[in-house]
């Protein structure tokens, strides 16, 4: 099952350095507030923090008690409070309340806010308005990049997607640029950068400026090429059900910061356990990229091998036994533990999926991707809604329908929306408005011809104006053109051909052979062509914003075929899924390349859609 490496793939750079840098800086910042202090940590910073430091580290630097930010009055008795937070208005507001409550109470404390990865002027302005600017010192913890695995680095900014693509707020663009700059400084210099999407373009610009501001150093590059891609270039892929092991685990159990919590149904005991899922887990490493249907067979084979290894003991003499115990037993036990865990997880997932008629769901998805029997799909979705089955799932299917069909017919849109609101609550009016704004779920416009006109106009005027135009026509510009793209790039293999999932022939295996993820296909094509030449029609359908640039003189060794040239850093702006990572790993094996995925966050359909919800206060 483990794929043989077809060409010698280069070694990946060591990213643990990034962790060390982040830890050192945090310690430095903590020491800026000398003496004992209580530390309040934003909930979603806790896991990332856990990956690079532990409580002992914090305690060593005079952190007394640790609290989670809960937007409630605090109980701390410490004279010094330190807040480790994301630069969010809501959190800063809460801190203002805390400080002002202290003031009203006549209580004197020292406060320090450490913003990660950076602070925003809006936050500082709030401190000023609330009259506590100066009472509170602030700092930035440039913890841009968290390596989740050998080949995955996350910015851990799930809000990137909504902020950038829904709200149109470019606050994270520079953050992305800085993250890239950090990678460039440590593992570069990059010699080639490809990209597609408005945000990618801006992040590239920001990175370039930062490089210019800094000094250049001649060093041996470890990463040669970079590919930047906006999530909204391909919204179909993250909305598909994941069927590759790691993706499925994420869909069902939600992997958080590289760690998953398996409940009693998996552990077959009365308690849950948290497990790190990465390449260190030898069993997981072998199945993570496999189609789920292949996993059971693999696991049982593995179990048999393990049994054989244990059985070796029977014919051993004392000396052999001693060697066995000292050398093999520990490894076997470890493997045993992991095996039973993943078998448990597989069983539990199997159960959950059969309960909700997974096969039928997948069939509907595949029909949508193929553009086949759309009426049947619509009635399937309708019934899904009528039966009040998972709201997010219903929304996912509706969005897939809209994206693949270039919008819903007005009559279908109205009827499905009405039924959705009846089933899940009328306040989802707000969600529908968001989905429309982003182009995830739209009504077909009667004047389809407008788009053609717009793209013509777009070609005539220069980039800057085109950008404005695109914004003005934003709802129109977000036509997904999925069918045409699918044909052009052969994304949907013919369904009458058998697809052997044991020996995948292309990246479509991650979706049972039904669909090659658009995002990964673009990457493959551009790398193959060394640019966008020949893909003009494709980029036009994707609303342009593609680029391919080569470094100037200082990237003089660009043409030398070094290992670094075969290491490609792919940065997803707005999140990527585990399935896409699996697809890229497959592509890497096929082409003798190594991909490093940098993402603003690991996403999946549920996370993506939940970020669109507006139904809570």
């Amino acid at each position: 099952m483990a794929h043989s490496v077809r060409r010698d793939a280069p070694e990946l750079p060591d990213f643990s350095l990034l962790k060390r840098l982040a830890r050192d800086q945090l310690i430095y910042l903590l020491e800026q507030l000398p003496g004992r202090k209580d530390l309040f940590i934003e909930a979603d910073l806790m896991s990332p923090l856990d990956r690079i430091a532990n409580v002992t580290t914090l305690k060593q630097h005079d952190v007394d008690k640790l609290y989670k930010v809960e937007y409630k009055p605090i109980v701390s008795t410490s004279d010094q409070l330190c807040f480790l937070i994301r630069p969010r208005i809501k959190t800063v507001k809460w801190i203002c309340d805390v400080v002002n409550a202290d003031k009203a109470f006549g209580r004197f404390r020292r406060y320090k806010i450490i913003f990660s990865p950076q602070k925003f002027y809006a936050c500082e302005n709030l401190l000023e308005e609330q009259g506590i600017f100066g009472d509170v010192t602030t700092d930035e913890w440039s913890f841009y990049l968290l390596p989740l695995d050998d080949d995955i680095i996350s910015l851990e900014l799930p809000e990137f997607f909504r902020d950038n693509f829904l709200e149109g707020d470019q606050r994270w663009v520079r953050t992305a640029g800085s993250a890239l700059h950090l990678l460039h400084s440590v593992y570069g210099p990059f010699s080639k950068v490809y990209g597609i999407g408005r945000c990618s373009k801006m992040a590239y610009e920001s990175w370039r400026e930062q490089v210019e501001e800094g000094e250049q150093r001649a060093r041996q590059a470890e990463i040669g090429n970079v590919f930047l891609i906006d999530r909204d270039v391909d919204l179909v892929t993250p909305l598909c059900s994941q069927v590759v092991y790691e993706g499925l685990v994420d869909d069902i159990f939600r992997i958080k910061c590289g760690c998953v919590e398996f409940g009693p149904d998996v552990t077959s005991s009365d308690k849950s356990i948290k497990v790190m899922l990465n390449s260190q887990d030898k069993v997981f490493n072998e199945i993570r990229n496999e189609h789920f249907s292949q996993v059971f067979g693999f696991l049982s084979q593995k179990a048999r091998n393990l049994q054989t290894a244990y059985d070796k003991r029977s014919g051993m003499d004392i000396k052999q036994m001693k060697t066995f115990v000292s050398e093999e037993l520990k490894g076997l036990k470890q493997e045993h533990r992991l095996l039973s865990l993943h078998i448990g997880a597989s069983e539990s997932m199997m159960k959950k999926k059969t309960k909700q008629d997974f096969q039928e769901l997948l069939k509907t998805e595949h029909s949508l991707l193929e553009g086949f029997e759309i009426r049947e799909c619509i009635s399937y979705i309708e019934e899904h809604i009528n039966r009040q089955v998972s709201m997010v799932e219903s929304m996912r299917l509706l969005c897939l329908l809209s994206l693949t069909e270039n919008g819903l017919l007005p009559k279908d849109y109205r009827s499905l929306k009405a039924q959705f609101l009846q089933s899940y609550g009328i306040e989802h009016l707000l969600t529908f408005s968001n989905l429309k704004q982003l182009g995830l779920l739209v009504e077909q416009q009667p004047g389809e011809t407008l788009t053609v006109m717009e793209s013509r106009v777009g070609k005539l005027v220069n980039d800057k104006t085109a950008g404005k135009l695109t914004d003005a026509f934003s709802s129109l510009a977000k036509k997904s053109n999925f069918r045409a793209l699918g044909r052009r790039l052969n994304l949907v293999p013919k369904s009458d051909e058998e697809y052997d999932l044991r020996v995948p022939r292309d990246m479509a295996y991650i979706f049972s052979g039904a669909y090659i993820p658009l995002s990964c296909k673009l990457i493959e094509q551009v790398l193959e062509r060394d640019g966008w030449t020949g893909l003009e029609e494709v980029t036009r359908m994707l609303n342009g914003h593609e680029f391919a640039v080569t470094a100037g003189s200082n990237g003089s060794d660009a043409r030398v075929k070094t290992d670094s040239q075969r290491i490609i850093l792919v940065m997803f702006l707005g999140g990527c899924t585990f399935s896409e990572i699996s697809a890229l790993r497959f592509l890497g094996r096929e082409k003798g390349l190594k991909f490093i995925v940098v993402t603003t966050a690991i996403t999946n359909s549920a996370r993506l859609l939940e970020s669109m919800l507006d139904n809570h206060a």
Binding site: Q25, S142, D169, Q170, V173, V186, E215, G425, I426, L430
Partner: protein, 492 residues
């Protein structure tokens, strides 16, 4: 960083300030040097951050004038003299800024910001003892501009750049509308949302809203930042005005409607929704909001009534199945389910009756059936379930009909733990023979399977199936009986 030994801990605790500062400063150095060695090439980044730190700390603690000079003096004389030094980064300032004696119109803190810059800059290069830092490109320009005057005369471009880098800046000199807009456009061109918002905050403070709104109409990117900012800080009223002036009435309506989520009290929420009815929604959405109001209005009536009935113990249904939650704020379909569960058979006139809910909210036949089926099946009211599908034709014959496939009905019944006797009635109604058999097998409806094979005259399959049932059971005997029936003309 050797702080592990327990006997040392006491010492640290007793005199931590003094010792700590000392140690700490060393720490900074070694750490920075370490980092520097480790990643030579990212040094510029580290420096940038630290430099930033210096600047910011100076300016922030520098708000009250007294404290500035105080802390400056402190740091000037000695870093280690007191434990009260708030900022560990101060120590590196060797040259204290000379504060101007004449108090001009400019705030002291802003003046100080500019000068402190030089100090921290110098200290850094000195502390590193690295001449290369002087070649650090943007720094070349900076000192020059800082010596110009206390009034910064940075261009919009320079200002935006400085803001991006977290350096000292001043927006005060952008007085004219033209300058303000140039600054805004420059920020937009730099693609840095943080800076765009910062400029917008300044414009919000220094321009009348009418003028700002007018200018934002043609600046889509800035506008979206502004809207997002207002949303985040909760300036609802201003946002409504903005939408109004942009003629984005539907957005405005939704924005206002959204506020109902913040209202906990159901009566207040209902009244709020009633007020929402006059908002300029799109025609479709207006209907939905009307529904929302009607729904909550009825839920309040139903809730009050049922609560009372439940507590008085009058109705069996509530005794047998106590309500798990209030019906308030539940979706329409959940309300219908509730009504089918607790208020089945009530006359159409009552608000709580299924028929009334169905009519009021224009619920489709299919949807009504599904919900009703679920509720009655849950109660194991199989008679009601039957009645849902039974239609009488004019001759008085009864027939079962359904707007959705019977295989679905079977599925729903099964999920509600319907007994085999009930299930098989519905499995039998599935038209497609193959589907019927697979469902029957799934739910172990032996009779259906046996009869279907009999009807299909499929002797082979029947023999196979005989092997699957328990020997001697009633099913077994039934198969035997059929197989030995000479009347049947088997096809195989």
């Amino acid at each position: 960083m050797i702080r592990g030994k327990p006997d040392e801990d006491d010492y640290w605790n007793s005199s931590k300030f003094k010792a700590f500062t000392f140690d700490d400063e060393d720490d900074d150095f070694t750490r920075l040097k370490e980092s520097k060695r480790a990643v030579n090439s990212i040094r510029s980044l580290v420096e940038e951050e630290d430099e930033e730190d210096d600047v910011e700390k100076v300016s922030w603690s520098g708000e009250p004038v007294g404290s500035i000079s105080w802390s400056v003096k402190e740091t000037e004389s000695s870093i280690r003299s007191t434990g009260e030094v708030r900022d560990q980064s101060f120590p590196k300032i060797h040259t204290a800024p000379s504060l101007p004696k004449n108090s001009s119109g400019y705030s002291l803190s802003s003046l100080f910001k500019g000068k402190a810059k030089t100090g921290s800059f110098q200290s850094f290069s000195e502390s590193f003892g690295d001449p290369s830092i002087r070649n650090y490109a943007p720094e070349l320009r900076k000192p020059k501009s800082e010596y110009k005057d206390y009034v910064s005369d940075w261009t919009p471009e320079e200002t935006v750049k400085r803001m991006q880098q977290g350096k000292v800046y001043s927006l005060e000199k952008f007085h004219s509308l033209q300058d303000k807009l140039l600054l805004l456009d420059e920020a937009v061109n730099a693609h840095d949302g943080n800076v765009i918002t910062a400029v917008l905050i300044y414009l919000k403070k220094s321009l009348s809203k009418e003028i700002l709104f007018r200018e934002l109409i043609t600046r889509e990117i800035a506008l979206r930042h502004y809207i997002h900012y207002l949303k985040e800080i909760g300036e609802q009223k201003l946002l409504v005005e903005l939408f109004k002036s942009l003629d984005r009435t539907e957005d405005m309506a939704l924005m206002q409607y959204r506020d109902h989520l913040n209202i906990r009290d159901e009566n207040k929420r209902r009244d709020f929704l009633k007020n929402c009815l006059s908002l300029p929604f799109s025609p479709d959405d207006a209907t939905h909001v009307q529904d929302h109001y009607t729904l909550l209005e009825r839920q309040i009536i139903i809730e009050a009534n049922d609560k009372q009935v439940e507590s008085s113990g009058q109705a069996d249904i509530f005794k047998k199945y106590p309500r798990k939650a209030s019906i308030l704020n539940m979706p329409i379909i959940t309300t219908l389910y509730y009504s089918c569960f607790y208020h089945y058979g009530e006359s159409d006139g009552t608000f709580s009756s299924p028929a009334n809910i169905r009519k009021t909210f224009r619920i489709s036949d299919k949807q009504f059936l599904l919900t009703c089926l679920g509720a009655r099946a849950k109660l194991k009211a199989w008679f009601d379930v039957d009645a849902l599908f039974t239609t009488k034709n004019w001759l008085g014959y009864t027939k079962k009909r359904s707007p959705i496939g019977f295989h679905r009905i079977v599925d729903i019944l099964q999920k509600n733990n319907a007994p085999v006797q009930v299930l098989q009635d519905y499995v039998n109604l599935v038209e497609d023979a193959e589907q019927k058999i697979s469902l029957a097998q799934k739910y172990k409806c032996h009779d259906v399977i046996i009869n279907t094979y009999r009807d299909l005259k499929d002797r082979q399959q029947l023999i196979v199936y005989r092997g699957k049932v328990e020997r001697g059971s009633s099913e077994y005997r039934k198969i035997e009986e059929i197989l030995s029936n000479s009347q049947i003309r088997w096809k195989n």
